[in-house]
Amino acid sequence: MIDESFSMGSTLFHKRDPKVKLIGAAAISIVLALCSSIVVAGIGVIVTAILLFLSKPAPCLLFKRFLQVNVFNLFIWITLPLTYGGGETMQFSFLNLSLDGIRMAALISLKSNGILFCFLALLATSSTANLGHGMEKLGVPRKLTFLLLFSYRQLFVIHREYQRLQRAAKLRGFTPKNSLHTYRTYSYLFGMTLVRSWNRGERVHQAMILRGFTGNLIPLDQPQPGKADYFFLFTMLFISLLLAGLSLMPLTL
């Protein structure tokens, strides 16, 4: 379930420096998140979709992510037209739909998909480890990036540990139901995972102290941004400025 399939690849997006991609993704996402015009959000979706297309993601995985985000949008489409209120309404058989609600739902769907595309094209094309180191270079506190990198490192171990305990429970004939017994079993399973990860944490910490750990993590791969990276950054910032400029223009929608 936990994988980083998007980060495998060799397109120009995969080759860019993570720092540059972080700045670009932040700029475009913030502009899209703040825009309040459907036209600008629509243009944003088209631009980010082109970026996503250029990063050549695996179609099946892409569809899965797309579905995940849009299940929530479906909820918005069901609820907002009925509950949003506002002046204008539209009669649709026996339902009284609010036009403002429909407009809001469309805006939210466009914005959330645009930001998703931007995220997948720019950030998911780097591994979490590279992003973590990139964040540190961009000024995120070292303790926080350390927490991120180590949680990421241990995540898979703990997930396996939990699955092992879960398998053991299944072999003993445990079938989840709506009962207190089920909740207690899940709690004990999780409690045991917690105990194991706690003890693992102590051991890892001791091992690192023995190896002279001082709070510094030195990545073996330390890419320096080159000309292509700066050009990429310039393009991303240009796109976000363009979108920001458009959203400041008086558009009717």
Partner: protein, 200 residues
């Protein structure tokens, strides 16, 4: 329990981000390098908790266990939860980069508050410990749901009814989280009580 990208407005996003930065800064300040490994492990465990689906009625919900993390780590739960949310964004695109601040504030704030409030009850009788566990789990989700509803309402008053639906749909989750946190707390106190007294 995430607010998706594209829903909130600038003031709510900015407010949430500022609060999360402050909370994370306090948490990091209280965290020294001796404990950082434990906190990262717990942060990863918190992430794994969100993959555990517990049956409820005809469907299932995933665990959150913020209250439990608050009980164990106190202020340290703030950066731990923010990191776990960040990983969820990277892996599954739940929430997002811009709303990370608001989501962090919604989940980590109540977790830390409940942890600090109910921690002292853990040194009492067995009944008191169980009540502390239940309340930590229950109240953290309760407060998170209220914060989430407020964030939606402040973003746009047209979201009032959606916020109500969100709040109502969290009632069963509060009960489940309360029960599970209670059982995990009693389990930990039996098996490895030092986990729950890291701050002492």
């Amino acid at each position: 329990m995430h607010i998706s990208e594209g829903i909130l407005t600038a003031p709510v996003l900015a407010g949430g981000t500022v609060l999360t930065i402050v909370g994370t800064a306090i948490g990091l300040k209280k965290l020294d390098y001796d404990r950082i490994m434990t906190v990262s492990l717990l942060s990863a465990t918190f992430f794994v908790a969100s993959l555990i689906h517990v049956p409820i009625g005809p469907g299932s919900v995933h665990l959150l266990l913020g209250g439990l993390l608050g009980l164990i780590l106190g202020w340290g739960a703030f950066p731990a939860i923010v990191v776990a949310l960040c990983l969820q964004t990277i892996f599954f695109q739940y929430g997002g980069m811009v709303v990370l601040g608001v989501n962090g504030c919604i989940i980590a704030g109540p977790a830390v508050l409940c942890g600090l409030l109910f921690k002292s009850m853990l040194s009492g009788s067995k009944k008191k410990q169980m009540v502390a566990g239940f309340l930590a789990g229950f109240c953290s989700i309760f407060l998170s749901a209220i914060l989430m509803a407020c964030a939606l309402y402040f973003a746009d008053s047209g979201f009032l009814q959606v916020a109500g639906i969100v709040l109502a749909s969290h009632i069963p989750i509060m009960l489940i989280e309360g029960l599970i946190t209670m059982f995990v707390v009693t389990f930990l106190l039996k098996v490895q009580p030092e986990i729950l007294s890291i701050n002492n």
